[in-house]
Subunit: 351 residues, 2 copies
């Protein structure tokens, strides 16, 4: 059985089973002489959560690989640096925390110009200037394929510690009756990937420059919802995750973790005009399963939705509700017709 | 200017300069609303050190790359998993801490057998069973060259918090007059790499099986000095690092960080009989600059050496002393002749 035979989620299950006890839980960290440190959330959420003397640290990792996530010949290196930060910061934001520090493990070919790499670090610094955090260490190794592996940790803001009873937002806290809401809009990042290839549909892609730029920026310069995550946590939201694999697939992960179902109103999903104009036939598919949106998905009681909307107008859009059964995602169009679509969007390694 | 033109240390300086303020220090993490978290030690030591509400967390990262650090056709996968853990644990040990948790970022080819990877995770678990820590998260991405990027954090044992006034061992705390000491022996890991190639010196390498196994085990299954690191911290040792790049080069790093010199007695360096028997002419060179020993190097006042030796007989061996000037490593043989040797051992990327 090869990696391509099992798909990413199964692979992670198989490998981490080595660390699981008979009850299915990952064994606790070494703690005989270290009782202050406790693993609250391990594998399966956006970030690990550690309690440390009643403080909370979240911890996440994400890698970008040459030829898969970027191209050393054509990429904008500053944008690569930004995105390497943003995808990790998005995981931190999904827990309601702010980024505080990160390490960079670089696999480098000998023939990469140093100026490219410096430009990449400038992009990382750009993201830190906006969203917080700084570099604390790293490692460089030689590799025939370049990779950038970031590990980032974050913490609660002091205001959050006072404002909210719970310590963190997780995927497993959705309750039947909750409304499902999202930040931002969906589909532009995937559209940006599509228009990035000049031979799209066999012809040079023709589109207004400002639309092209808008879509490509959504793909190359995603904006992690750090401020929004903090505001949502402080507003009493308990269940959230960031959307990286496509809206429907990610909603499915909340359903699985929380053992609930979600009814999604496809006509309520926020999309922007540029996307509809550029992809008049495909925009809904891109919004549902395109991926790389790096928006927050949350579920929360209806009365809290109203308070959030009053305090932060336009920050979130309701797109559906949490139901008890079945434990899957149901799509409803504007005529209340249930739609069957393939809820499995792209998954790494699967054939 | 390409990566290969600058060498690893210069490359790190160039890239991290992006994050340094005008005073040369790395800018502090985002802390306007997060005053509990403080970066005590950043880039340039074995691990980053964060103070968090008066507790200490250390944080390190290291990657292994296919074709550079392992070979997917011939490697023992359980040993790869062990080593991926051990090199990170060694960094944690060098600070006097114990490993508590880690993430794994895997770059995978589609055609790698899942069983190989599971075996690798078993090797990781083996190391955690001995030295502590558990898996808390990870990421898998597709890559034409396989890589394993580990990020690990550790903490002080509770006993250490009470026993020692200082919080951590660092590279920049060596003082003139200190003795320089090491754990274990040097040179076997590099010898193991040499005998790993069957066409060594153009012929099949002939050596007693037990010697071959001893040397290869030193290369493939290094033992991070976690217990020793804790005992040294509790015994009042302030300056330590782990030895991965070769004894002389690593001593040079202490000299640079602490702004001191070190006089090294080459005839005092601990080596084992198997190494001398296998490499009667090269053993000293292998011990001085072979690398991958993953032993601890420390400097400490002479009166503390005696106490450590009484309490932990054989744990450390004195190999020299810290001097004021010059800020470099001086090698002395048994006749007190100063020896000039090339103190720059292998450095990634340099031509």
């Amino acid at each position: 059985m090869l990696v391509e035979d099992v798909g990413e989620n199964n692979l992670i299950d198989i490998l981490t089973s080595v660390f699981r006890d008979t009850d299915g839980k990952v064994s606790r960290p070494y703690s005989s002489k270290n009782s202050d440190l406790d693993l609250k959330v391990g594998i399966g959420d956006d970030a690990a959560v550690l309690d440390f003397s009643n403080n909370t640290i979240v911890f996440t990792t994400d890698s970008l690989v040459e030829g898969v996530h970027f191209d050393t010949r054509t990429s904008d290196w500053r944008a690569i640096g930004w995105k390497a930060m943003a995808v990790n910061m998005s995981d931190i934001a999904a827990m309601g925390c702010v980024p505080t520090g990160f390490t960079v493990s670089l696999g480098l070919r000998r023939d990469i110009p140093v100026n490219f790499l410096k430009e990449m670090y400038c992009g990382m610094k750009d993201a830190c200037n906006v969203f917080g955090g700084t570099i604390v260490g790293g490692d460089t190794v030689e590799s025939d394929v370049m990779f950038i592996s970031i590990s980032m940790f974050g913490a609660l803001e002091n205001d959050s510690k006072q404002a909210c009873e719970q310590k963190i937002m997780t995927r497993d806290s959705a309750q039947p009756g909750d409304k499902v809401a999202v930040t931002g809009t969906f589909g532009c990042a995937a559209a940006g990937l599509a228009v990035g290839f000049k031979d799209f549909k066999g012809t040079k892609f023709e589109m207004e420059d400002k639309i092209l730029k808008h879509l490509r920026d959504a793909q190359n310069l995603p904006s992690p919802r750090v401020t929004e995550g903090v505001e949502l946590l402080n507003s009493g939201v308990k269940a959230a995750m960031d959307s990286s694999d496509g809206l429907v697939e990610d909603l499915g992960k909340i359903c699985e973790s929380s053992e609930v179902g979600i009814r999604l109103r496809t006509d309520w999903i926020p999309v922007d005009d540029f996307l509809v104009k550029a992809f008049p036939e495909r925009w809904l598919n891109l919004a549902l399963s395109g991926g790389e949106d790096y928006e927050l998905i949350l579920t929360v009681e209806e009365n809290k939705i109203e308070k959030i909307n009053r305090k932060f107008p336009g920050m979130i859009t309701v797109i559906g509700e949490v139901v008890e059964n079945p434990q899957r995602v149901i799509l409803l169009d504007q005529n209340n017709n249930e739609n069957e679509i393939n809820v499995k969007s792209w998954q790494h390694f699967s054939k």
